[in-house]
């Protein structure tokens, strides 16, 4: 077996927990040792001379959104005060079960907060990138798009055609050339796969 | 709409929990680990029941009533009577029981009781048989939690034992069998009743793990701070049921010491209960609303 394919199981002791070894993702420490949390492959990340032990699960990980995560969500309902959406991916990890989230009016943009209009920022069905705010209520994640890199990633026009961004606040339908207002995200590869956007935005050839 | 302040039991924060951890053998109310709080007991409190008792252990208050009916035995156990436990978690006891909140606890309690009373060595159901395969006595033990202040399992088991001790089973005068009809005549004389044999009736002791120490008779706050507890049901020095409550885990050695502690405390409880029940004079007129 190759060295990087070291398989471990929950509860397996990985190493001593000392100044040079700390526990990272997928591990925990107890009584001076580092143990694995999940079944997966051991990974050692060296940072500032400290070995961080991590375990990565090869399949779908069971994760829930946490404060600070960038998530991909789909807008479902919009009102004057907020819009409701479903979180579908956390980073590049997809979720089997979608989590309810809410994006308040004042969290849409970082500037000119009093001029924000929810209806001019999103439409139901839009796919957005957003950051998870601290969790104050159980069952309801709060999101924020108040960053340049966050906002609408993929949207379709009224007629169901894909739109492309033309400014920070507008997107244009590639078929009808109708412009619609949106809180547009400046996409950076770190947050979303370029191919994905390309595939979502291309028109389907009807059969 | 006004949202009223909740009265739910306190959930102490981590810092407070730290204080509850007992490194020294002294608990927040000054007791040592094996000490029990004083309690108050009375029997014959429900006049229309065949037997009843009420127990108050600090803030925990339990009322038990026993009802008797004639029933047909289970086809697979023709020689035995029936014993059924029902726990009612009244919302009066704690707001957490509102709606279906107490259901889980009620099921846990009644399951624990019925499994503790299941063995013939503990409680002989054959004594409740009237006629083999046809008729038997069925005892309904109804347990009502009036107030919850910790250590429910112990309190309930003591109250149940006292109620069964107090239970009077009518004597049978005659049995007439006519085909599939059975006619049972019960003695009219209220004094000619038989008492149940409850010497083997189990007492349950909750041994609670706080930090790495074990205590008995936890109060509500101590229960909140504990990661888990072992409930040991003891009958005549033997263990008839062990169950765990809470979410924690035990090292096998800790677990064994819990069992030893449980048995010794159960013996002390048994002694006190026998002594106290012995003090009861017949026809004493005491109501718990006194």
């Amino acid at each position: 077996m190759e060295k990087q394919n070291l398989i471990c199981l929950p509860g397996q002791r990985l190493s001593l927990c000392d100044k040079t070894h700390t526990s990272g993702k997928g591990t925990y420490d107890r009584r001076g040792y580092i143990y694995s949390n999940i079944s997966g492959i051991v990974d050692v990340v060296i940072k500032d001379g400290i070995k961080i032990l991590e375990v990565h699960s090869p399949g779908l990980q069971t994760i829930v959104p946490a404060q600070g995560d960038v998530v991909t969500a789909q807008i479902s309902i919009i009102t004057q005060q907020y819009c409701k959406c479903y979180i579908k991916c956390i980073g590049d990890k997809i979720l089997r079960r979608h989590f309810k989230a809410i994006l308040r009016r004042e969290d849409i943009k970082a500037t000119e907060k009093d001029k924000i209009d929810v209806y001019k920022s999103f439409k139901p069905g839009d796919i957005i990138l957003a950051r998870v705010l601290p969790i104050t209520e159980a069952h309801n994640y709060q999101l924020s798009t108040a960053e340049n890199e966050l906002g609408v990633a993929v949207a379709y026009s009224e007629h169901g055609h894909p739109m492309i961004p033309i400014s920070w606040t507008e997107m244009q339908c590639i078929k009808t050339y109708v412009k619609e207002p949106r809180k547009v995200a400046k996409l950076i590869p770190e947050n979303i796969h370029e191919d994905l956007i390309a595939r979502l935005s291309e028109t389907t050839t009807k059969v | 709409m006004l949202i009223l302040s909740s009265e739910k039991t306190d959930n102490p924060a981590r810092i407070e929990r730290t204080y509850y951890l007992i490194s020294e053998n002294i608990r927040i109310d000054g007791r040592e680990r094996e000490d029990y709080r004083p309690m108050e007991i009375e029997t014959d409190v429900v006049s229309h029941a065949f037997g009843s008792s009420r127990l108050r252990l600090a803030n925990t208050d339990v009322l038990v009533a026993v009802k008797i009916e004639v029933d047909a035995p289970y086809p697979e156990r023709p020689l035995e009577g029936k014993l059924e436990f029902f726990v009612d978690c009244s919302a009066n006891a704690t707001p957490e029981f509102e709606g279906r909140g107490g259901e889980e606890l009620a099921v846990e309690l009644s399951n624990c009781l019925s499994s503790a009373y299941r063995s013939e060595e503990v409680f002989n159901l054959k004594k409740l048989c009237i006629m083999k395969g046809r008729k038997c006595w069925k005892l309904y033990v109804d347990i009502l939690l009036l107030e919850v202040g910790g250590n429910l399992f112990d309190a309930v088991s003591i109250a149940v034992k006292a109620a069964l001790w107090n239970t009077q089973i009518p004597k049978i005068k005659s049995i007439n069998v006519d085909g599939s009809n059975i006619d049972i005549q019960v003695c009219d004389d209220i004094f000619s009743c038989t008492k149940l044999d409850v010497t083997g009736a189990p007492l349950m002791v909750t041994v609670c793990k706080i930090g790495d120490k074990c205590i008995v008779d936890p109060n509500a706050a101590e229960e909140q701070c504990s990661v888990g507890a072992v409930v040991v049901a003891v009958s005549r020095g033997n263990i008839c049921t062990i169950s765990q409550t809470g979410t924690g885990s035990f090292h096998p050695d800790t677990f064994k010491s819990c069992l030893i502690l449980g048995i010794s405390v159960a013996q002390r409880l048994e002694d006190s209960l026998t002594e106290t029940l012995g003090e009861i004079k017949a026809n004493q007129d005491v109501g718990f609303l006194k």
Binding site: Q67, L133, P134, T136, E137 | L2, I3, L4, S5, S6, D10, N11, P12, A13, R14, I15, E16, T18, Y19, S23, E24, I26, R27, I28, D29, G30, R31, E32, E34, D35, Y36, R37, P38, M39, E40, I41, E42, R54, R56, A221, S264, V265, R268, L269, D271, S272, L273, E275, T276, E279, I280, Q284, V286, F288, K290
Partner: protein, 296 residues
């Protein structure tokens, strides 16, 4: 050798009342006529029927000029501005915490009413809002002062003083709010090495005396590792049991009544203090001592 388990019959119950030759004020019951005259102002706990004023709760009559009200014997805490309270955080919300203070409605502690770590003069940023659970989370106990009372009767608290803030290791005892005697200070450092906060809301906090107040910045610093020595634990347990004994016999709680009770209790062991007759005895002798000291 473990103690014998105390089990008694209800017929042998101990009488816990300690009233000695004192004027007991008239107690009104709901529906009882308080006044037949028309000259009155209807206060709390009363209602008007056929020109008569009647009590709607069981309690004692209080009269201020022509305003007549009945103060219930047993009630939740009704806060007044300036009261010292002890409360438990039950919910973390946006910009505020919900606190259980034994009132009818949950009290609130706004993030703007607390001293955040890093000194008093600090602007509260959006970051702080996001860090709220780091400062105080569900289950934490705080001491605070009532800042204002909202129109619905719920309280707004503040901890903007060094003596208020998060509480550390110690024991919480709950009694009826009416048993707490209002006095100049509700913070007491007893000479026996125990510190007391008598919350006007009936929540009493008992903890070891904290020596260095310098470190205590707004009460967000806690020492989890510190082990309370056995002798202090014993004293704290004794104080707790004494307070409960006094509360059971309805003796007012304030620094001297608690100190007297502590002195009286020393003839018993700690565990004995849980017995009803011992509790009644401690309460009774405390009451006598109090009367003596009053007459002196």
């Amino acid at each position: 050798m473990p103690q014998k388990i105390q089990m008694r019959l209800a017929s042998n119950r101990v009488d816990t009342s300690v009233v000695i030759n004192r004027d007991i004020p008239a107690i009104y019951t709901p529906g009882q006529i308080i006044s037949n005259q028309n000259e009155f102002l209807r206060g709390h706990g009363t209602y008007e029927e056929n020109g008569q004023l009647k009590a709607s709760v069981a309690g004692v009559r209080e009269k201020v000029d022509i305003l007549i009200s009945v103060r219930p014997l047993k009630s939740r805490y009704h806060g007044k501005v300036g009261d010292v309270v002890v409360g438990r955080i039950i919910e973390v919300q946006q910009k505020r915490w919900k606190v259980n203070t034994n009132s009818i409605l949950d009290s609130v502690l706004l993030i703007s009413s607390v001293n955040l770590p890093g000194g008093e003069l600090r602007r509260r940023s959006a970051e702080d809002e996001h860090m709220m659970r780091k400062y105080l989370q569900e289950g934490d106990l705080i001491s605070a002062e009532v800042q204002s009372v909202y129109s619905d009767g719920s309280l707004s608290l503040h901890t903007r003083s060094l003596k208020y803030g998060k509480l550390g290791q110690g024991v919480l005892v709950k009694v009826f709010p009416s048993l707490i005697k209002i006095s100049k200070t509700h913070f007491h450092n007893l000479s026996i090495g125990v510190s007391l906060i008598l919350g006007t809301n009936g929540f009493i906090w008992i903890c070891p005396i904290i020596n260095n107040t310098e470190e205590n910045v707004g009460g967000f610093v806690q020492n989890l590792e510190e082990v309370v020595p056995k002798s202090i634990r014993a004293t704290m347990a004794r104080i707790r049991n004494c307070i409960l004994a006094l509360a059971q016999s309805k003796v007012m709680l304030f620094d001297s009544s608690i100190t007297y009770a502590y002195e009286e209790s020393t003839k018993y062991t700690l565990a004995e203090l849980l017995l009803p007759e011992v509790m009644a005895d401690v309460a009774l002798s405390t009451q006598q001592k109090l009367i003596l000291s009053e007459t002196e």
